[in-house]
Amino acid sequence: MTADQEAWFDDAAGPLVRPYAVTGGRTRSDTIGLDLITLVVAVREHADHLEPESLRILQVSQKPISVVEVAAAVNLPLQVVKVLLSDLITQNLMIYRSAMQTTTQAPSPHVLQAVLDGIRKL
């Protein structure tokens, strides 16, 4: 087991992080079930009680943006961003829209055609 854990780390894996520090020491999960491409948008520009990381999330989310783009913009791991977003949504500082599809829902013909047309026009 120890050998496996050592093999787990390499240069490609990037630096170690302390996510629980960013989330205020909480070890809570994303309570909303945010997907990579769930779109979120801030409804406020500022809130006094927020930690710097959450404030940055509000700032980069002034227009609709996907969860994965928020993570890239604030340079925090996805899971951490999901927890922070989940908190912000719970506090009514942000709203979200679920990804259009789920595993149980086929994409609509309208959407497929729009994507095809959009790619052709690139």
Partner: protein
């Protein structure tokens, strides 16, 4: 609703396509060839216990590392955004493929003829998931050029799976791969007109 608040609706929707293949085959290059922004990178936390689960429980006591995830964006129209995700190249990050594939329209398996076997896992994964995919054979300058039929045979693909040669660096080439994928997706969904023109 206040007029100044109108853009605070999330009325747009997002869809995604997955670009898969072995390490170094050109996935991020392909994403970048059509993305309207330079490929973005984010990181996912990995712990042994909660791999792939959006739960930070216990990370303070376990070995944690990260894996990079590259993606690009195409604004189809003001109401619809297409995201392209490159899969992590390292085999040990398989669990991330589940989240990437969940709800995806379809996938591109990018094949490198110098290491054709490196895309077997991706082909297997999408076949098992039932996610429509096409195989793009990235034509590296120094690689032996197989024919489409040879690649199809080597990968033991279902006859319905489109295989095409491509250059992941080229915008037009990547467009053609994505168009072929969308036509395949629509054909599988029983939609007519999918094969009409380019």
């Amino acid at each position: 609703m206040e007029s100044g608040n109108s853009e605070r609706n999330v009325s747009a929707a997002a869809v995604k396509i997955v670009i898969a293949g072995g390490f170094g085959v050109g996935k991020t290059t392909m994403v970048g060839s059509v993305s309207e922004v330079p490929p973005l990178r984010t990181e996912e936390l990995i712990t042994e216990a909660s791999a792939g689960v959006d739960d930070l429980s216990g990370v303070e006591s376990k070995h944690t590392t990260t894996v990079a995830l590259d993606f690009g964006r195409i604004t189809i129209n003001p109401q619809l955004i297409l995201y392209l995700f490159g899969t992590p190249g390292q085999d040990r990050f398989w669990f991330m493929w589940d989240e990437l594939a969940r709800g995806a329209l379809g996938a591109v398996v990018l094949a490198d003829t110098r290491r054709l076997d490196s895309c077997f896992p991706a082909v297997d994964f999408f076949e098992r998931r039932g996610l429509p995919f096409v195989v793009g054979v990235n034509c590296f300058d120094d690689a032996y050029h197989y024919t489409v039929d040879e690649v199809r045979m080597a990968l033991d693909l279902d006859p319905s799976v489109p295989v095409l040669l491509c250059d992941a660096r080229g915008r037009e080439s990547t467009k053609q791969v994505l168009i072929t994928l969308m036509q395949h997706v629509m054909s599988r969904a029983g939609l007519t007109g999918a094969a009409s023109g380019r």
